[in-house]
Symmetry: C2
Subunit: 323 residues, 2 copies
């Protein structure tokens, strides 16, 4: 059964079902989430991002092991934007993190895009809320680290871990550069590889420049070396994550970041709902419907059409009955 | 001077300025675009996508050379989502495609994300319209090929070219897999590398399976081998692009795809404008403003808040004065 109490009790089947309902946009999912919402806000959300080939999955796997040694119940969300056409996650739950698959204290879900702009960010937000309500803490969110949505997802966590590795090509390094500015913890993975020293110097320089460029902050982003395949350096990463969570709680930013996260989802969802519902032919005035047709027929540019429509939209005055 | 006539006459400075205004969301840009719109719809829009490391930039460079040999004036839009934080394109115009930089018949712009969801897709649409009005044909749009937005951008072209290369890692190949289903022309670049034969067989199998899975279509996606660094195979790619454009024109899909493209931009823009304008505190009823505050304070989940707001939004009846 999928009920509020089942999810709050940590029932994995109930939690998984709720996440699926939310991904599919089912009303019963939203209704349940509204009830659960008061029980969220406790989990530390950790975003892990970096270029393809940085060994993020292996790092997450090792990090889960480290948090399990500390008796934490760990949630993991793998964000996989690779298959917008099939709607299915290629790197599915089954092939990842085999060794934690039978551990009831580790809850792993992969999110795939359903093709809607912003859909991935919303699904990830939802899944993190459900895991939070189920008592998983931390909740680790792994993203590919390229693309607008993916970066946004990583940024919405309490703590963003940026993973770099030596020896990637120029194009891949360039992709990574944009993400660097968002991190609170930096990991140099595959630190036993050639080029690790060079990369370390580059990252140190970047962190140094960044420290001088921004307002004084009590948090200095650490740069930590790991060899995730051998489990090396993970203790320090887990320590840094806990330290950052403590820092956020002390400064009041822990709750504040969650509020910002909810507000962003709210604005995105409001935008999408406006377009979906208000543009339904049945709700449109015939005069306005012809403007929409004109766009499709190339008679008017989309921006002019938006202006026409927006001018005809209004809030009902207070006290007026809703639609 | 930036005027409709200057842009239509192909004035590069005027075109570049208009694209920048549109990227920055300046009203004078939108006004000019509305006037120019009737002069668009002629250019063949070609999306080029594929994983990082596939040699897309080199391929585009060689393809521009091939189209120049055919006396086409070529527009190139490089979509660079790598830097959402700085707002600047890392792979800037200056470092790319040096050899075409002094050719007045090649117009190259890089689009960087301004951080707004969907902003990249819109900027690319705008830039393509401007180049179209300026008389460039084809307009080649190069995207990274990972991430939701980027795939969407490639799909909105008349013709999507999917570039594959032998010897990329598993993770990168997985990213690529999702894009495969969207292509009308397939290019196996770096075809002189080890593993090219294996990759060719995989791609042929995929195209074979796809041909059986979909409704009968008159267009069979060709698979073409190139070594872009040596300019090999580009003639066949240009021929395939022209053949696909001809196919689209014959079947009426050329104009239809443009209309769909405009409609998607319209819906996305309407959504964003709804959120931006309607949620402005000055426009919100005080009762509704408190709902927005509740989201930020974690008192209500974002979806419930959206429902409350949507219920209070309405179209003005026909004939009523606009806001």
């Amino acid at each position: 059964m999928t009920s509020v109490s089942a999810v709050l009790a940590g029932d994995v089947a109930a939690g998984a079902r709720l996440i699926r309902w939310l991904e599919d946009g089912e009303p019963r999912g939203r209704a349940l989430l509204a009830e659960l919402f008061a029980h969220t806000g406790r989990a530390h959300l950790v975003g892990i991002t970096g270029p393809p080939g940085a060994g993020k999955s292996t790092l997450v796997d090792a990090l889960v092991g480290e948090f399990r040694r500390r008796d934490c119940r760990v949630g993991v969300i793998g964000v996989d934007p690779s298959s917008p056409f099939t709607g299915g996650a290629i790197l599915g739950d089954r092939v990842r993190m085999q060794r934690h698959a039978t551990d009831a204290n580790v809850f792993i879900r992969s999110m795939a895009s359903r093709g809607q702009l912003g859909g991935l960010a919303r699904s990830t937000y939802d899944a993190a809320l459900v895991m939070d309500a189920m008592g998983y803490d931390p909740v680790i969110i792994e993203t590919v680290g390229v693309g607008q949505d993916e970066v946004e997802i990583a940024m919405l966590a309490h703590t963003t871990v940026v993973v770099s590795v030596p020896g990637l090509g120029d194009e891949i390094q360039a992709i990574k550069a944009g993400v660097l500015e968002a991190g609170q913890v930096f990991v140099l993975n595959k630190a036993d590889r050639p080029g690790a020293d060079d990369l370390r110097r580059q990252l140190e320089l970047m962190l140094h420049l960044r420290a001088h460029g921004e307002r004084a902050s009590a948090w200095e982003p650490p740069l930590l070396a790991t060899v995730a395949t051998r489990g090396e350096g993970l203790e320090a990463v887990a320590d840094a994550l806990n330290a950052h969570a403590a820092h956020l709680r002390t400064t009041g930013q822990f709750t504040q970041r969650l509020g910002e996260r909810s507000h962003r989802v709210f604005v995105a969802q409001f935008a999408q709902a406006c377009a979906q519902r208000l543009l339904e032919p049945a709700r449109l005035d015939p005069a306005l419907a012809s403007v929409v047709d004109d766009v499709r027929l190339g008679r008017v540019d989309p921006y002019s059409a938006v202006e026409v429509l927006l001018g005809q939209l209004a809030w009902r005055p207070s006290g007026a009955p809703p639609c």
